[in-house]
Amino acid sequence: SKMATSVISANLPPNIDPTKATMAYGNGALRRLNRELQDTENMLTRQKAVKALCDYLHDHEHVAAAIHEGIVVSLKSLLRDTDVTCRQLSTMCFYVISQHSVGREAILDTGTIEPLSALFEDAEDICRRNAHMAIEMLSEVPFGADGIVQAALVPKLIEKVKSEHDEIKEYILDTLHFCLIVNTQDALKAHGMEVFTSLLASNLATIRAKAARDIMDLSVPLDGKDKAVEVGTVPALIGLLGDNASAVRANAAGALSFIAVTTQGKYTALNADCVNPLLPLVNDPNSEVRVNALKVVTCLAEAPEGRKILTGHVEQIRQLESDEITNVRKHAEIAVRVITWRP
């Protein structure tokens, strides 16, 4: 018969994860988890609490309540725990927290950047990856990037970019992109340009694209432009102009456009025969590629030699004046104007 019997089974009910702590009901859940997180004697309690917390935080409403309860401080002390699982799970919690604005603010207020950055040296891949993911999330807002730059993490990150796995490299490059928008001096001093140039030769298209984008950010100030010319970034970037991935082409063209603003950059690019790979890009399907290619053309046309070469291709550029994207049209007009300028 299908009637339920009244035998009390000795097994735990199914679908209960014995590695997670039991959650108290309602508001008490967070309080209890917080208490268990601070339990210094019993490692098992802490592990189970962190695991439960990790799942609990995926609900957005819970994140705010958790921060209010002061979970961030407890998690911060867990980052230095001796147990791998604790560290890994706490970094994952931080990743989830940093996806929310209140979480990012809380991370900055409690000064968690330092311990998180200490985990960059961790032996475990997962811990490092989660730590980098959390920092990357944090850097996407201006004050987060500010905090990271002030904690002097930029040189450290550039060190790590050289040695880490590819997957983690992507996160670091993203973090650096946002930090470079805030401050470029630290990165330049830490030989960022050389590192990024070496990454341009990577196998992964995403890494090439991100490295090119970081080079573009780094070339905005004058020192960056000079450094780029010095280190030989220009030929590498010109090589990437024919890449398959559109993101790579766009970022390479963008980087070249910044470098070519200075006279030195212009002549370096012209000498490395930049114009030929550039012209097909003007008709690229991706709008960003077209815009950036137009910018490079414009900058190169400032120089008399460049103008001479480009005058032969003015018609091609003139066609873009009737492009569908406003941005492309505008920059095409500017380019044509510069090419046809007579002193």
Partner: protein, 427 residues
């Protein structure tokens, strides 16, 4: 000898003994071991209540064996005393106990039984030995199924499937909640991701625009800077050229002017130098600078000495003249007196000869007066009346002519002195 209690085979046996508890067997009345060995399985257990070895009653005042085997004589005496006293007390109590009254005469109190059945009262207690022994402990057999006696009517009922509880219907709300929650959660996450993707796309678009604008701005800045620099350079160049021209013009003008200025420079220089005496004849210069001053000095010295001599001479003269003047005055007065006397005599004798000698002696007197006055004036400058006289004389002469006359007078004085001197020399 004591049988161990059979172990209960149940699982809840939690207690074990190191020595199983057993009842204490009674002491054998007879020590015959052989006779008792057969009946060893049935020991005699005495009654605990009547066992002399068991201490009964209050244990706080138990008799303790005396420490010494030999009883203390004092203790013995005391105990005897106590015994005697206890006996005495007991007898006293017996006596004091109220008894029933004595029997009446001829009757006797006898204890009799009044129950229904008489009982033989004897000391001897009838005893009978009964033995009982439990069987070996066996496992408790399972309790038989208790089947109570049937009472009441037989009724039956049967719940068929789907009558009480339809699983499919009941499970629906639960399923709905489960599925709903899951889908809601996943929708939230997917929406979140989609939003993120949209945000990123927007960010990329913005970055695209921003980068392009930034490049444009930098390019324009650069252009502007270049133009400005070029302009500045050209202006600088122009300015330099102008500067050079001006300088050249200045140089030419300066050169011409200098030439003209310097044309008569040499003669004028020589002229000026000659004027200022830079070209000189050394002999002439020497004569001028060496000889002439010496000459002049020498002349001065000479003149000084002659002046000094003259002054000395003047002084001498003055002295002499003063002396002479006084002497002459005295003489004069004597002469006058003599004359007077003579005149008187002459008058008496010849009046015209006296007049002639008077006119002759008058200019001589005037000269002498003048000389005397002058000498006195020059010889005694501090002499007030003579100075007045001289001043009046000098004033008269000065009114006639100025300094020249004064000079002349001085010369005249000198000459008068000289004359006086000459006069004296002549004299």
């Amino acid at each position: 000898m004591a049988t161990a209690l059979a172990q209960q085979p149940n699982e809840g046996n939690t207690y074990t003994f190191s020595s199983q508890p057993r009842a204490v067997p009674n002491r054998r009345k007879y020590r015959d071991q052989f006779a008792q060995q057969n009946s060893d399985e049935v020991p005699h257990h005495g009654n605990l209540m009547y066992d002399r070895r068991v201490i009964r009653g209050n244990t706080y005042s138990q008799h303790v064996l005396p420490a010494v085997a030999q009883p203390d004589p004092v203790e013995i005496q005391r105990q005897q005393e106590m015994r005697r006293r206890a006996m005495a007390r007991k007898r006293a109590r017996e006596q004091l106990r109220p008894k029933s009254p004595e029997a009446v005469e001829g009757r006797k109190h006898i204890d009799i039984q009044t129950e229904l059945y008489l009982e033989e009262l004897a000391d001897r207690i009838e005893e009978a030995d009964v033995q009982c022994q439990t069987d070996d402990f066996l496992d408790r057999p399972p309790s038989p199924l208790f089947v109570p006696a049937k009472s009441g009517e037989d009724k039956e009922t049967q719940i068929l499937d789907n009558e009480l509880f339809n699983f499919d219907i009941e499970v629906k709300p639960i399923l709905e909640v489960l599925v709903g929650k899951t889908i809601e959660q996943s929708l939230l996450e997917v929406c979140g991701e989609e939003e993120l993707a949209n945000l990123r796309a927007q960010q990329r678009a913005f970055e695209e625009l921003r980068n392009a604008e930034l490049v444009e701005q930098q390019r324009l800045e650069e252009q502007d800077r270049r133009h400005r620099e070029e302009k500045a350079r050209r202006v600088q160049q122009q300015r330099e050229v102008q500067e050079k021209e001006r300088e050249t013009a200045n140089k030419i003008a300066a050169r011409a002017f200098a030439q003209s200025y310097l044309a008569d420079l040499v003669p004028s220089v020589f002229g000026t130098l000659a004027e200022h005496g830079y070209f000189y004849d050394p002999v002439e210069r020497d004569v001028e600078s060496g000889f002439l001053p010496w000459l002049v000095d020498a002349v001065n010295t000479d003149i000084d000495s002659s002046v000094r001599a003259r002054a000395l001479l003047d002084g001498l003269l003055r002295e002499v003249i003063r002396d002479r003047h006084t002497a002459y005055r005295a003489l004069e007065t004597r002469i006058e007196q003599q004359r007077m006397a003579e005149e008187d005599r002459r008058a008496m004798v010849d009046p015209s000869a006296a007049a002639a000698s008077e006119t002759q002696s008058q200019p001589r007197d005037e000269d002498e007066n003048d000389a005397m006055a002058n000498l006195e004036a020059t010889g005694a400058p501090g002499d007030a009346p003579d100075a007045d006289a001289d001043d009046s004389a000098a004033a008269k002469e000065a009114e006639d002519a100025g300094d020249a006359d004064a000079e002349g007078e001085a010369d005249g004085e000198g000459e008068a002195d000289a004359d006086g001197g000459d006069g004296e020399d002549e004299n």
